[in-house]
Amino acid sequence: MIPRHFYIAASVMLAAVLGMSIYAWRMRGRVAATPASSSDSRPVVAPVSGPTEEVTLFVAYDDLGILRAQAARIPLPSVRQQRAEELLRALIALYLDKTSPHPIPVGSDIRSVYLIDPGLAVIDINAAFADGHRSGVLSEELTVASLLQTLSANIPGILKAKILVEGQPRETLAGHVDLSGFFDLTAVHQLTAELETQQ
């Protein structure tokens, strides 16, 4: 005869296992779904109106192969995630301009930025941005450092970052800079310091 308390203990454990499984499954679903569903949640028209704020953009200059901190005034929404997106779009707009110091492909865009606590930023760029990007260690490095340092300088609390292309992980940006892992923002700050000087 199996004692009654054994049944109770077994039921409680079974319930716990079931609960954990459902939780784990939902979390897994969330992580997988977040970047993919991004295009739906993206506003059709960027909220560019409203009061402007001063931000620091880290702008790449191909002629000298350097990164420069530049102050800019741009309209920013109040929601942290949307601020991050608008910040990077301002940077992209600069690079798409005909006087661009660091030309990037026509049609390049930031699809979304996700700020996931604690300290993770996921930047989802569109295919045009990556597919047409100039190949080369320095060229690609300037782009990545520019995006990450700009984000980190204006949105506090980011420790690591991941760059996705159309919601999917990619090996490299354009054959060189590794996008497969998470960028360590401490290392990005160090790289920025290196890129700010011509040596």
């Binding site: 192969g65 998470f182 360590d184």
Partner: protein
């Protein structure tokens, strides 16, 4: 039919066995199975690797001194009971049966138990060897008593291992000397048993991995052998590199894929790297059934290269389109060959990792580099923007886990080599500056630098001015290759022997 006749005669003989004979046979078999297996002490030295039997006498473990010392030098024994003398090279040791004090070179030496004569052989307690042998041999001796392993001198084969990412993952062991373990398997486990190699324990004996398929590895010692037991959720196969210094455990089902990535060190004089050619020399041991790896012979150990020069890109991966007709992958090969020439002319043995238009994945490049144990790995790139040369060292990604003992995380394998990699970049930069070539040293999130265990730099060559076609100019290539080679030569003593 021949087969049935043989079977028949076997059956007849069985029937003709008398019952008493069968009874004794059974008793004998039982006795055999119940008898403790013979134990041995494995001895590792630079002169020889061998084992001597351990006997239980007086309630403790004993070994014969003559058998122990004979493979190591000149040994003479004089037995004059109760006195027993042994000469090892020029050292005299005197023992008295039943006494636990001996005299070595006229000085007292205490044993942990009595000296005994066993069938005329002089035997001493195993645990006395730690104190006895240094005085007899004039050098260190380390006894692992519980596991029956004795290390003479500072001998030891160390290992590191790298867990590669991907699903399913691979586990790559690198040994500091050739090994030839026995491979045995059971469901969910693969055992590598090292009886003839002085494999020594990692910092942490139990290692766990962030991998779905390979969960952990455990180092243990016992019965005169070292053992690494790898736990996995899927069947694994062990691939041995031709030099015997690398073992890759990969999923049995993706054997073909694993083989293509399996590193093999090319033979000297042949630049490797059509990957197809590199696949052939690896041996594959799969299970079940458990298989024995082929003995690694000294002749098969290839020459070590001080430097590996990796011509980046290749095959479908053309790298940057430098101009309408010029692709980066062609420039990197040309530069790689020139750099090899410059390094070799300065006495630095060099292997070019892609000496053809082969396609090599970044993982494969790292595997090649890690398996060949070079002192320095140099990846070459070419670019149209900017001028001069950019030198890169690894910018590590955000660490997702810690190294486990000797196991290095695949994405941060470079971490401990970074200071020397940066010093190497500085050394090369100073040589380029001497030639007035614009140069910058930077970190970069650039694979496979992260995955390389040894000193690793990447060299990105841009044209001297805006004309990209100058990248093909022999003079320019020569100038840069010569400066890079000088930079390596200048730091050669710090890079040391290949790890």
């Amino acid at each position: 039919m021949r087969w049935s006749r043989t079977n028949e005669s076997w059956a007849l003989r069985t029937v003709h066995l008398k019952w008493p004979a069968l009874f004794f046979l059974l008793i004998g078999m039982l006795a055999l199975s119940a008898a403790p297996a013979e134990r041995h002490l494995s001895v590792y030295s630079t002169a020889a690797t061998y084992s001597v039997p351990i006997e239980q006498l007086d309630g403790r473990d004993y070994v014969g001194l003559f058998e122990l010392l004979d493979p190591l030098g000149t040994v003479n024994v004089r037995s004059d009971p109760p006195r027993w003398r042994i000469h090892y090279n020029n050292v005299l040791a005197e023992f008295v049966v039943g006494r636990s004090r001996a005299r070595i070179q006229g000085r007292d030496a205490d044993l942990t138990g009595r000296f005994l004569l066993d069938s005329g052989r002089g035997v001493v307690p195993v645990d006395s060897l730690s104190s006895l042998l240094p005085r007899l041999l004039g050098g260190p001796a380390t006894l692992h008593e519980a596991s029956g392993r004795l290390f003479i001198g500072s001998i030891g084969t160390h290992f590191t291992a790298t867990v590669s990412p991907g699903d399913p993952s691979r586990l790559v062991f690198h040994f500091t000397a050739p090994v030839n373990p026995t491979v045995a398997t059971e469901p969910g486990k693969i055992h590598l048993t090292f009886r003839h190699e002085p494999v020594t324990a990692p910092a942490s004996p139990r290692l766990t991995f962030n991998s779905k398929s390979i969960s952990s590895a455990e180092y243990s010692e016992g019965d005169g052998a070292a053992e690494i037991t790898v736990s996995s959720t899927i069947p694994l196969i062990a691939n041995f590199s031709p030099d015997g210094q690398m073992i890759t455990l990969s999923p049995a089902r993706s054997q073909v894929a694993a083989n293509s990535a399996q590193t093999s060190t090319p033979t000297p004089g042949h630049a490797p790297p059509e990957p197809a050619a590199a696949k052939a020399p690896t041996e594959t041991h799969s299970f079940p059934p458990a298989a024995q790896p082929a003995a690694s012979s000294v002749a098969s150990i290839p020459r070590k290269y001080f430097a590996i020069v990796d011509a980046s890109h290749g095959g479908q991966d053309r790298g940057e389109a430098l101009s309408r007709t010029l692709t980066e992958k062609d420039i990197t090969v040309a530069f790689a060959r020139r750099l090899r020439q410059e390094l070799e002319s300065r006495g630095i043995s060099t292997l070019v990792l892609r000496d053809s238009d082969a396609s090599l994945s970044l993982d494969d490049r790292a595997y090649y580099a890690n398996n060949a144990h070079p002192a320095v790995y140099i990846a070459l790139h070419a670019a149209s923007n900017g001028q001069g040369v950019r030198l890169y060292t690894s910018m590590l990604p955000y660490a997702t886990g810690d190294d486990e003992g000797p196991f290095r995380q695949w994405n941060t394998a470079q971490s401990s080599a970074i200071p020397l990699s940066q010093a190497t970049a500085v050394s090369v930069a100073s040589e380029l500056k001497k030639l007035q070539i614009p140069v910058r040293t930077l970190t970069a999130p650039l694979r496979p630098l992260n995955n390389v265990l040894t000193v690793a730099i990447a060299v990105e060559v841009a044209p001297p001015a805006s004309d990209v076609s100058a990248l093909t100019a022999p003079d320019y290539q020569q100038l840069i290759a010569g400066a890079v080679a000088n930079g390596i030569v200048n730091i050669r003593s710090q890079l040391g022997a290949a790890p």
